[in-house]
């Protein structure tokens, strides 16, 4: 049972932390994308969407290099904390944030775009600063976008495999998430354990999506 729950807990923890970080990270990016008329928009859009089309192994390979003790980010991290980013939980969080970024940015950008400028203008004329209007009008009116971003980021991070294998390896309690554990069990022909883990992940993923669509329907009414 221990071996079953530990990878699951790790997966949920990774997906949860990644989702929370992504909401903060994706908000300004999505806001900028929805508002800007800059020529840089297609460039930023492409960069953000890259993880959707890139094979996870390619992403993982580049991340391994950047996050590794010799890489730009990795060496700085080693200097700062004394430990390496690769093959650590923190490294996984960073990799997941990049890997799942488009799944947080897209729903938010759509929500912000459909919000338009009209209500914000009204808020400004009523004495609200730009920041105030964002938090008191734009944010609450984009709740559904946030819900979508949360569920998609969470589910996508939960199902991550290639990137984690490349960056995190297979360290129990540290980087051995469910998807890796399943692979591991199958490799050692332990189909019963693989079945249990797979079923667990299936249930978690389904419940997450089902909740989103249910809540979404409630809101529409």
């Amino acid at each position: 049972m221990e071996s079953l729950l530990q990878p699951l807990w790790l997966s949920v923890k990774l997906a949860g932390i990644t989702t929370l970080l992504l909401l903060v990270l994706a908000t300004p990016i999505a806001w900028w994308l929805a508002q800007t008329r800059s020529g840089l928009k297609p460039l930023v859009q492409s960069l953000v969407a890259l993880p959707i089309v890139l094979p996870p192994t390619v992403m993982g390979f580049y991340l391994l290099i950047v996050l590794g003790p010799a890489g730009a980010l990795g060496s700085w991290w080693v200097e700062l904390t004394g430990s390496a980013l690769t093959f650590s939980f923190t490294g996984l969080v960073i990799a997941s944030c990049i890997y799942s970024l488009p799944f947080a940015v897209q729903p938010l950008a759509v929500a912000f775009e459909s919000l338009g400028k009209q209500k914000l203008e009204a808020a400004w004329t009523l004495g609200a600063s730009k920041a105030d209007a964002f938090f008191s009008v734009a944010l609450p009116l984009s709740v559904r976008g946030y819900l979508g971003a949360m569920v998609l980021s969470f589910a996508h991070t939960l199902g991550e495999f290639g990137v984690i294998l490349m960056v995190g390896g297979n360290i129990p309690g540290e980087t051995r998430v469910v998807s890796i554990a399943i692979y591991d069990q199958v490799e050692s022909l332990n189909y019963a354990a693989a079945h249990r883990l797979s079923a667990l992940l299936l249930v978690v993923a389904f419940v997450a999506l089902f909740t989103m669509f249910l809540v979404n329907r409630r809101w529409r009414r």
């Binding site: 009204a122 004329t125 004495g127 609200a128 009116l141």
Partner: protein, 361 residues
């Protein structure tokens, strides 16, 4: 005084406006769509950037490109009523109205109750915007703007998005608001009827320029402004209720050029009413018609005749200190030999009466 000067250059459009508007009452900005009315209003609010600008309200400078002053939108004490209500869907009506109140100090609770009552919103306060009709939503938007402690209220065709019934539902509220005349209002409209009902001062715009600006009555009788011709041609007289004839159900009003009968009990004795006459409802006679069904026949003097083409011409008449515009055919002008300075009689076929005018202190 509200002093404003704006110059905006955009592909296919330019705005060049230099105006002084009174700090009292409602100033109407009238013109066809594309005249730059909305752009002007957005400039005043700070929602639009201008190439050159100067704006001062009651001695406070809000904007001056030469001095490098430009208050951001939220620091200009304005109340903006857009064409659409633009209510915040996640907040109840009360919270929508409170949005501006909370952010700008100075509005008291009694004023809240007063405006809510004035706009008839008492029963709607706990509702969500989605549960309001178009007319109700716009009334909430007006209350929200008025209660944000503005020094200047900007209204951009607040009735344009509504059907006739909804419009007639809101106009009386705006008239009551006008009667209080506490905050200056700039009211943009392409509907001459609304302008005549609500405004004291009138600015006429065309293609980004100001064609005329002045007291409503004076601007309306100018014959050289095309947009004030056609169906829009008409004039306004302020009359005082003198007596009511209960037998015939007619009210007599006095003004500088004599007296006018209007149908019904138009108002209490001594009340000042705004009377509007359409140019096409006025005909002219050389001598006083003896047996006519028309009640209102008044001596008048021709002040100007205008109209270079088409079958009709506009004639401006002086009646005492007031002036009205009549539309007559070119043939009539020729056959009667009408000339400036002629004395004749004006038959006024119908008069539209507006509710009691505010008693401006």
């Amino acid at each position: 005084m509200i002093g404003l000067r704006y110059r905006v250059e955009r592909p296919g459009f330019s705005l060049d406006v230099d105006l002084e508007l009174p700090l009292r009452g409602i100033s109407g900005v009238f013109g066809e769509s594309g005249a730059g009315k909305t752009t002007l209003l957005r400039c005043i609010a700070g929602l639009e950037a201008a190439h050159a600008s100067r704006l001062s309200v009651a001695g406070e400078t809000w904007e001056d490109t030469q001095e490098g002053i430009a208050l951001p939108v939220q620091r200009r004490d304005i109340g903006y009523v857009f064409q659409e209500p633009r209510l915040f869907d996640h907040l109840a009506v009360r919270a929508n109205i409170d949005y501006g109140r909370k952010r700008r100090a100075g509005e008291t609770a009694s004023n809240f109750d007063h405006i809510v009552e004035l706009l008839g919103l008492e029963k709607l306060l706990e509702r969500r915007p989605a549960e309001l009709s178009g007319g109700e939503a716009q009334r909430v938007a007006i209350a929200r703007a008025l209660l944000s402690a503005p020094k200047l209220v900007l209204m951009d065709e607040p009735l344009a998005s509504l059907d006739r019934a909804r419009r007639d539902e809101i106009l009386p509220f705006l008239e009551r608001l006008h009667a209080e005349a506490r905050i200056p209002i700039i009211y943009v409209s392409h509907n001459i009827d609304e302008v005549c009902r609500l405004c004291d001062h009138l600015v006429v715009m065309e293609a980004g320029r100001v064609l005329a600006s002045g007291v409503l009555q004076d601007v309306l009788v100018r014959l050289d402004i095309p947009v004030l011709g056609g169906d829009n041609a008409g004039s306004i007289i302020d009359g005082v209720v003198a007596s009511y004839d209960g037998d015939d159900d007619l009210t007599r009003l006095e003004f500088s050029g004599g007296s006018l009968w209007v149908p019904g009990h138009a108002g209490a004795e001594g009340a000042t009413l705004r009377l509007r006459t359409q140019a096409s409802d006025i005909s002219l006679c050389r001598s006083r018609p003896e047996q006519s069904t028309i009640l209102n026949i008044l001596p008048a003097q021709v002040e100007a005749i205008e109209g270079s083409e088409g079958p009709t011409m506009l004639v401006r008449l002086r009646l005492g200190d007031d002036r009205i515009v009549a539309r007559v055919t070119r043939r009539s002008v020729r056959e009667l030999g009408l000339q400036e300075g002629d004395s004749l009689f004006a038959q006024v076929k119908s008069v539209a009466v507006r509710p009691p005018r505010p008693v401006t202190p």
